[in-house]
């Protein structure tokens, strides 16, 4: 047993302990904090699994932005959640525990009995890597080989934002999401919100650009941009835009719109939907990614801001 294996076992035990704590702890706020810590450590597992792209996404979106959503909700629901004390009946809890344990056991057996040699699509990805001019295999799969998935995922993001906006009350319809944040304009948060965004925007754009050849891409970069936007909003330096604003809606449909247009162009001028002409594959994909990073940053930020609560006047 070498030192890497020892580290992996320790990491897995800590992650498992946090998962148990998240489910078993009495207070909802503690469970939320436990889940955020769990997500960040899971990102380390992804690094150990040699999937750095996924690790970046998990840390930025799963742990970071997801953690902010859950913590915000836990703080707002603190009083209401405490009132809900009724437990499920012992029979329900017992059968739920038995069902969960048997599913865990079945999955564990499946893990131990996976076929050897494992099936893989990696050689196919390598064989076709030249078609796009990019060397990051994950970006190739996301943007070209399985481009349809990524495009439909953008549509899912749009549907989610439409769903969140539909939860506004009549008075706040089309208004600004979330409360207006007030912070000391000379305070430390306002200072950070002035100092960090220039660096954060450079990092976000760098992650997008380097995603062609190294781990990174539009999702991870978009998450960084969204967090910079939210920092400025939380420090009270800017307000959330009213959701009826035209330019905001334009940004939200830019990513999936351009993706769809280029896809249809492939159907019309080329052999199939989303088929990029070989000579322009990289510029086309970069164009889609630039539109997508704007859409992703705006969507993630607005999903965090929540349903409109104030009228735009």
């Amino acid at each position: 047993m070498n030192i890497a294996t020892v580290f992996e076992i320790v990491l897995a035990s800590v992650v498992l302990g946090l998962a148990i704590w998240t489910i078993a702890v009495a207070e909802t706020y503690s469970a939320t904090v436990g889940f955020v810590a769990y997500s960040l450590l899971v990102a380390l597992i992804w690094v150990r699994l040699d999937a750095v792209d996924v690790a970046l996404t998990e840390a930025a979106i799963g742990g970071g932005l997801g953690g902010v959503v859950l913590l915000g909700a836990a703080a707002r629901l603190r009083d209401a959640e405490a009132l809900t004390v009724e437990q499920a009946s012992p029979i329900v809890r017992m059968s739920a525990a038995i069902l969960s344990a048997s599913i865990t056991a079945a999955l564990a057996f499946a893990i131990l009995l996976l076929p050897d040699p494992a099936p893989t699509l990696a050689p196919t990805v390598v064989a076709n890597a030249g078609a796009t001019g990019m060397t990051n295999p994950v970006t190739n799969v996301l943007m070209a080989f399985r481009g349809m998935d990524t495009m439909l995922e953008k549509v899912v993001l749009l549907l989610a934002i439409v769903g969140v906006w539909s939860l506004a009350s009549d008075r706040a319809w089309g208004g600004r999401p979330g409360p207006r944040h007030q912070a000391d304009p000379n305070g430390v948060l306002a200072f950070l919100a002035r100092l960090l965004p220039p660096a954060g925007i450079v990092v976000g754009v760098y992650i997008l650009w380097t995603g062609a050849d190294h781990p990174g891409g539009a999702f991870q970069g978009g998450a960084v941009l969204a967090s910079m936007w939210l920092l400025v909003i939380m420090a009270g330096l800017a307000d959330t835009p009213p959701v009826s604003s035209r330019w905001l809606r334009l940004i939200l449909v830019a990513g999936p719109g351009l993706f769809l247009a280029i896809g249809l162009g492939g159907l019309w001028l080329g052999p199939a939907f989303l088929s990029y002409p070989a000579a322009f594959a990289k510029p086309l994909i970069l164009g889609i990614e630039v539109a997508m990073i704007l859409t992703i940053a705006a969507t993630l930020g607005l999903l965090l801001a929540g349903a409109p609560e104030r009228s735009s006047q």
């Binding site: 430390v188 948060l189 200072f191 950070l192 100092l195 960090l196 660096a199």
Partner: protein, 97 residues
């Protein structure tokens, strides 16, 4: 040459790990929020700093070294801001636990 670099790395990362350990012990053992913050931010910033210093000789190029240093700077900035905010919250609420 490579042996000297490895010795620097081992020394830097070990000192960093010691500071992380000290900070964690302080976080768990100190009695109230302000002292726990003190343990956490001071020790972890130093700990991360020594880990970065230890890793610098291993970075292949100037660019990678600058990336490592900027990670440390960003962590310093975030840690300092968050501890300020938590400490201010503690002072306003009047409780120290």
């Amino acid at each position: 040459m490579s042996v000297a670099r490895d010795i620097m790395t081992i020394a830097g990362v070990s000192v960093g790990a010691f500071f992380f350990l000290a900070g964690t012990v302080g976080l768990l053992r100190f009695p109230d929020t302000l002292t726990r913050l003190h343990a956490l931010t001071k020790a972890d910033n130093l700990g991360l700093g020594f880990v970065v210093l230890g890793l610098l000789p291993q970075s292949g190029s100037l660019r990678d070294g600058l990336k490592l240093i900027s990670i440390w700077m960003l962590a310093l900035l975030a840690g300092a801001t968050v501890s300020q905010l938590i400490a201010r919250m503690v002072r306003q609420s009047g409780t120290t636990r």
